[in-house]
């Protein structure tokens, strides 16, 4: 549940948190989900998003792409889709609870070795091209989400970010020839103690008890929706 609904967790801001505001936001999120189906997806899944566009001939505009990043909390949760269209790389940022979004379809539900695929910007175009008429490949029910063990090759440097300093599991041969000065600076910038820092992890996350409460709320909300559906079916 925590992986399927990650946006329900509020911002771990220890100085100021308005619990009433969070409850109201969660209520709004549930109302939106009652109207439009927001599917489960992860970074690395291929999505198709149709938005209402006043200037389009059919009043809707559809974009297909691989989800490279997810961020934001509660109602402001966003995700970025990347695709290479007609030879030019395009990235579209969408807010999950934006009422202009008509439909979100998951064409291929899968995960990748990394939580963040922004390094695809520095990769050859084949790794980011997905045809717009891609057919949805539904996963059989009860199956765990597959992890695509693809290891991507980066373009020769210069890069947009210092990929050699980050531990990217989804990148093949994440080494790069550095000058002596760069090597020294890279060594100095490493923080190997951070993964052992429990207080840092605690401060950057929500209390386990609260997480449990929120997920239970979602579970009960889903049960309520299923009951309503059954009643409707029985009535009709």
């Amino acid at each position: 549940y925590r992986q399927v609904y990650p946006e329900y967790l509020p911002r771990p801001d220890w100085s100021s948190r308005d619990k009433l505001l969070e409850k109201m936001a969660r209520r709004d999120m549930n109302n939106r989900r009652a109207v439009m189906n927001i599917p489960e997806f992860y970074v690395g899944s291929i999505l198709a998003v149709t938005i209402g566009d006043e200037f389009a001939p059919m009043k809707v505009n559809r974009f297909v792409g691989i989800c490279i990043e997810r961020g934001g909390h509660m109602l402001y949760h966003w995700f970025i889709l990347r695709n290479v269209v007609d030879g030019s790389g395009v990235e579209m940022k969408y807010e999950l609870y934006n009422p202009l979004i008509q439909k979100i379809e998951v064409l291929k539900l899968e995960k990748r070795l990394d939580d963040n695929l922004t390094y695809l910007r520095d990769c050859p175009a084949e790794y980011s091209t997905f045809p717009f008429n891609l057919d949805a490949v539904p996963l059989p029910k009860g199956m765990t989400v597959p992890v695509n063990p693809l290891k991507v090759k980066l373009n020769p440097p210069p890069w947009l970010e210092r990929w050699e300093r980050m531990e990217l599991k989804g990148v093949e041969n994440n080494t790069r020839k550095l000058t002596k000065k760069q090597q020294i600076r890279a060594e100095l910038s490493k923080k190997p103690w951070e993964k052992h820092d429990l207080m840092l992890q605690y401060r950057g996350s929500i209390n386990e008890v609260e997480k449990d409460q929120i997920m239970r709320e979602i579970y009960h909300e889903n049960l309520r929706k299923e009951k309503k559906k059954k009643v409707k079916k029985f009535e009709s």
């Binding site: 200037f55 030019s88 790389g89 395009v90 990235e91 579209m92 940022k93 910007r121």
Partner: protein, 127 residues
């Protein structure tokens, strides 16, 4: 010692730009590899954004153009491209090429100036 900002990918004076239509001058610039640089932005601020008109130095000539794709971070629902794309126009406002190769942001259709609409009519698809 001097301070730097985060990479903003702004289009300003002397920023290189990618010509995206099939005009003759655009094709020769791409073939020879001579960079196409902005020399003036028709804007109150010196920063050119999506849909702004710019004056560009290309093949030892001065041409005007419209920005049709930006590397800069955009608002949600507005596409961000991997290259800064530009479509060239002449002084009269007519586009120099007859076709655009890349997709064009749908949000640009909000700008209703007749000159810009002539450029948008060449777009193969709106993203």
């Amino acid at each position: 010692n001097f301070s730097t900002t985060a990479p903003l990918f702004e289009l300003r004076l002397l920023s290189r730009v990618n010509v995206v239509d099939n005009s003759k001058i655009g094709r020769t610039a791409a073939a020879t590899g001579r960079p196409v640089k902005i020399i003036h932005v028709y804007n109150k601020t010196g920063v050119a954004k999506l849909g702004d008109k710019v004056l560009v130095a290309i093949e030892r000539e001065k041409r005007k153009g419209y920005i049709v794709g930006c590397k800069q971070k955009q608002n949600p629902m507005v596409p961000k491209f991997d290259a800064n794309n530009i479509v060239l126009i002449d002084d009269g406002g007519l586009p120099l090429g007859t076709r655009i190769k890349v997709p064009v942001p749908s949000a640009l259709r909000k700008r209703a100036t007749p000159e810009f609409l002539k450029v948008l009519s060449l777009a193969p698809r709106f993203i």
